[in-house]
């Protein structure tokens, strides 16, 4: 017991060792999954990983800044289509996607550059959309970002010489595997975790907590909000790219308002702003939706997953509105407090203030 907690303590003070340890354990699990699990089970685990990327990135951009964007599916779509077009077999491009420029039509990229390109396209789109959209707040922002989904769907539907319109892209190479997906999960968690716990993360949270005070200490709010939005969009684009190469087909309706709803539920369940919370909620919801599928089929009640998720959301909002972990993390690096006395003495004896009457 004491040995165990001692080790935990040592790990807590050595985040690098903890990170490497987690990576090794994760790698061993993935190797095991790739070796022994059925393709179906691996696909389910893959979906869970993609959902982790989506939920963690949305928890970062929405949870920390207090923005309420529902635009993730739009960025998934942009990332997914960009990557899919880039990896599509060059032989078939000329007939199926005649509108592509020469250099894309003749090339055929591997997954990593295609995924990165997908993320970058999504990020650029977020940068352009963010300027006007992030001036809005609350419900207005939510509705405007829903508009983004519609805009992207309409664009893809109508640019059929490079997207095949409503028919969608089928027969994509199945390039996503658990290594790629969970590699990106690790990158997403690492980047968002580092940023959250840096001065930038505090600055983002200060915007959420109090815009006026945030401005008064010199936080460039517009710029930081845009940064969080763009970073979230990048990872959504990556997730879309991974999804496309896991499912092997992509249509303008692959991601929509239902997707947005599911990701938002994950973020709310985990606690808005909590990265680990979002990841755990993503895993839980992925498992629930797969587990419910045979039940749906057996009792012929399709839509059970949505009903269960919605009920879960209502329950959380009623009984634990801050979600699983609030905006904190189950394991945190405590900021050191110099010279803090170890015992909690009553503050009235230390020159504290009596409570106000007002």
């Amino acid at each position: 017991m004491t040995g165990g907690t001692g080790m935990m303590d040592r790990l807590r003070h050595n985040p690098a060792a903890l990170g490497i340890g987690l990576l090794l354990i994760g790698a061993a699990l993935i190797a095991g999954a790739e070796a022994w699990l059925t393709p179906f089970e691996r696909t389910v685990i893959g979906f869970a990983g993609i959902n982790i990327i989506l939920a963690v990135s949305l928890s970062f951009s929405n949870g920390l800044t207090g923005l309420f964007s529902l635009g993730h599916p739009a960025f998934m779509m942009l990332g997914g289509y960009t990557a899919a077009i880039l990896t599509f077999p060059a032989m078939r491009k000329s007939t199926m996607l005649p509108g592509l420029p020469e250099f894309i039509a003749t090339s055929e990229l591997s997954l990593l550059p295609a995924t990165l390109a997908g993320g970058v396209v999504a990020a650029v789109a977020a940068l352009i959309a963010g300027f006007p959209v992030l001036r809005l707040r609350g419900h207005y922002l939510a509705v405007a970002t829903l508009g983004l989904i519609v805009i992207v769907q309409v664009l893809i539907n109508n640019m059929d010489s490079i997207t095949r319109g409503a028919i969608g892209l089928a027969g994509l190479p199945r390039l996503s595997n658990l290594w790629w997906i969970y590699g990106w999960v690790a990158v997403t968690l690492f980047v968002t975790w580092q940023l959250k716990h840096a001065s930038l993360g505090r600055a983002l949270m200060s915007i959420r907590e109090n815009e006026l005070a945030s401005a008064s200490i010199g936080v460039r709010r517009a710029r930081l909000k845009l940064f969080a939005f763009v970073l979230g969009a990048f990872f959504a684009g990556v997730a879309g790219a991974l999804w496309a190469h896991l499912v092997t087909n992509l249509t303008p309706n692959s991601f929509g308002i239902v997707t947005a709803f599911m990701i938002v539920v994950m973020v709310v369940l985990g606690g808005s702003g909590s990265l680990i919370g979002a990841a755990l909620a993503a895993i839980a919801l992925s498992v629930i939706s797969e587990a419910a599928r045979p039940i749906e089929r057996a009792i012929d009640a399709y839509g059970l997953v949505q009903i269960v998720t919605a009920t879960l959301l209502i329950a959380v909002l009623l009984f634990r509105p801050q979600g699983l972990f609030g905006s904190g993390e189950p394991v945190t690096r405590r900021m050191t407090t110099p010279g803090k006395p170890p015992s909690k003495t009553s503050h009235e004896h230390r020159g504290g203030f009596p409570n106000e009457t007002s």
């Binding site: 001065s199 505090r202 600055a203 949270m205 200060s206 959420r208 907590e209 109090n210 006026l212 005070a213 945030s214 401005a215 008064s216 200490i217 010199g218 936080v219 460039r220 905006s327 405590r334 900021m335 407090t337 110099p338 010279g339 803090k340 006395p341 909690k344 003495t345 503050h347 230390r350 020159g351 504290g352 203030f353 009596p354 409570n355 106000e356 009457t357 007002s358």
Partner: protein, 258 residues
């Protein structure tokens, strides 16, 4: 008056269709405590917001004696004004309720990149021991007085040369207000110039060197704090003391019943 650190000259400020500041001029000297007094909606907060760059004047100038010569503030962004050494502690405390006390203090030093931040936190923990006690608590859990202390300290964490306080006494018990004003005097004694906006004129005039009275967006009275405290119109309007001059009648001493 010592050399002016801040000079506001004839600013006119509009919020939408209504003019909130009308030809306002004032100055704050190096090392002074200057108070701006006025009722609700008189233009106190608008004056501070204009100085800190959150509002833009339509005309007029604001000059700050920066470390390398005078700087005009009217075209600067808020973060650059903070960088110059002006800290604005906004009305109503405005702490980051969901962040810990420690995180609030670190946020105050957001634009600083030196290695003295930890030392400054330690310094203010000495000045306000209660903040050390509460370091890991969420700021939203503090009492009103503690939040005011935190807001004050957070503003100081940017190492300002000019500290602007917007109604530090708002909603606090008299006993707590006394403590806050003691700290304000200490802050000045340590070399920070203070520009104080208050409705609580009695308290403000007690600590201030000079004061201005603002009404309907116009400066109506200015002078030394001690003179203003004796000014009949100030006494009546802001100190709640009826003066014989103002009423024109002798007030009989109150009967005190035991």
């Amino acid at each position: 008056m010592p050399d002016a650190l801040l000079k506001v000259e004839s600013i006119n400020v509009w919020r939408g269709a209504s003019q909130v500041l009308n030809d306002v001029s004032l100055s704050v000297g190096q090392g002074e405590i200057v108070a701006l007094l006025g009722g609700n909606g008189a233009g106190k907060t608008s004056t501070l917001s204009t100085i800190s760059g959150l509002l833009r004047p339509k005309s007029g100038s604001i000059t700050f004696a920066g470390e390398s010569g005078p700087v005009s503030l009217t075209s600067l962004r808020p973060e650059n004004i903070v960088k110059l050494g002006i800290a604005h502690c906004p009305e109503g405390r405005q702490v980051f309720g969901g962040l810990s006390v420690m995180e609030n203090l670190r946020m105050g030093a957001y634009l600083r990149h030196d290695d003295q931040i930890g030392a400054d936190v330690e310094h203010y923990f000495e000045l306000f021991p209660i903040l050390r006690e509460r370091a890991d608590l969420k700021a939203g859990q503090l009492s009103g007085g503690e939040q005011m202390m935190l807001a004050l300290t957070r503003a100081l964490m940017s190492r300002p040369r000019l500290l602007m306080l917007d109604e530090p006494s708002l909603g606090l018990a008299p006993q707590v207000i006394d403590q806050i004003f003691d700290r304000i005097e200490e802050i000045r004694a340590q070399g920070t110039t203070v520009f104080l906006v208050e409705q609580n004129a009695a308290m403000a005039l007690e600590v201030a060197d000079r004061a201005y009275v603002i009404e309907n967006g116009k400066i109506t009275i200015s002078g030394n704090a001690s003179e203003l405290a004796e000014d009949p119109s100030v006494r009546e309007a802001y100190l709640g003391i009826e003066t014989t001059q103002a009423t024109g009648a002798e007030i009989p001493p109150m009967e005190t019943s035991s």
